[in-house]
Symmetry: C2
């Protein structure tokens, strides 16, 4: 999918993986502009031609790395759970894990880099969006719909479900990039406040 | 303030300004990692020593550029207006201008770069925060407090005023960095939905 047409599928899985991992690590550490194919080749222990046989440029390589290495299971709930369990209980059960996940320096650094390249290299945001964000948004939308059925989220939120999701996700990603990033305990309280405000936790 | 101690204040205002403008433009276009003192010197039409006499490195120069060039008047309301006028009316009156401002490619690109450097170069986010964000947050907090007095914003929002502000600002900055950024009309509707959700516009 991310392999350019005409270049064929990569044939060596282990080499591929080493290159993609090196690419993602360098992207997170230095951004697109600070990363070169030469650095990726060196870090992965391969020659530049090995990389260019697979990807046309660093943007395609980094997009492919996100496509391959970023896990797409949303983690905090299955569609079945959303359909049958209480939204309050589901959200409450997910808070510890979410607070731990979004406060790691790896998460903060990846979000910073993806946001940072959104205007200059929209392909990277686009891949991250498809791969990581959309599956989570689908679940969040189902959860909001269910909460509305149950009457814990007001009707007017449902009208703008994408806005409500942006308000939750936007607040959290914005918060972890602020000058004084929260620790796990503070993030737990923060997430509770956000979910309460939207109506996904009791007032 | 951003001039390193011992280097003295810059003496040539026009040269300073040319250097700072070049630094900010290159930062927005290429990020911190893609910008060098050499490029800034070339763009500003000065020698590298002229820059190094004023700033120790590119991070300090870019921070100084934000300090100097980013206008700090929040624009959408004065403290007096917040104290005396209806929050609904103030928010409504600010929407056209805000929608136009946040949908420009310059705004989107600057936000992307500042967020993008938040983990690798926290000094830049810190300067942006002090210079641009904090004055706006102060006004927004006053507006929320006033709306709460008037009963249009629920009490529980007031408990977490910083969270409510993050939800508004976070949503908007997140939205303009998404793969399909909104035009001015869509942003107007989007802002209305966000303010309605918080209680700063009528349901």
């Amino acid at each position: 999918m991310t392999t350019p047409a005409g270049r064929g599928r990569p044939r060596d899985g282990a080499t591929d993986l080493a290159i993609l991992r090196a690419g993602l690590e360098l992207f997170i550490e230095r951004g697109v502009e600070g990363t070169s194919i030469e650095q990726i080749a060196k870090k992965a222990g391969v020659g530049k031609p090995t990389i260019y046989r697979r990807w046309a440029n660093k943007e395609e390589l980094i997009a492919a790395a996100m496509e391959t290495l970023i896990v797409d299971e949303a983690g905090w709930a299955s569609q079945e759970a959303v359909d049958t369990e209480s939204p309050y209980a589901l959200v409450e059960a997910a808070i510890d894990r979410a607070a731990a996940a979004v406060t790691t320096v790896q998460y903060r650094a990846l979000v910073a880099r993806v946001f940072g390249s959104a205007v200059s290299h929209p392909q990277l945001m686009s891949t991250y969006w498809q791969r990581y964000i959309l599956p989570r948004r689908k679940l969040a939308a189902a959860l909001l719909a269910r909460a509305r059925e149950l009457g814990t989220v007001a009707d007017d939120v449902d009208v703008d479900v994408d806005v409500a999701i942006d308000m939750m996700v936007g607040a959290v990603t914005y918060r972890v990039l602020q000058p004084d990033p929260p620790d796990v305990d503070e993030m737990r309280r923060y997430l509770r406040a956000v979910y309460r405000q939207i109506g996904l936790l009791p007032p």
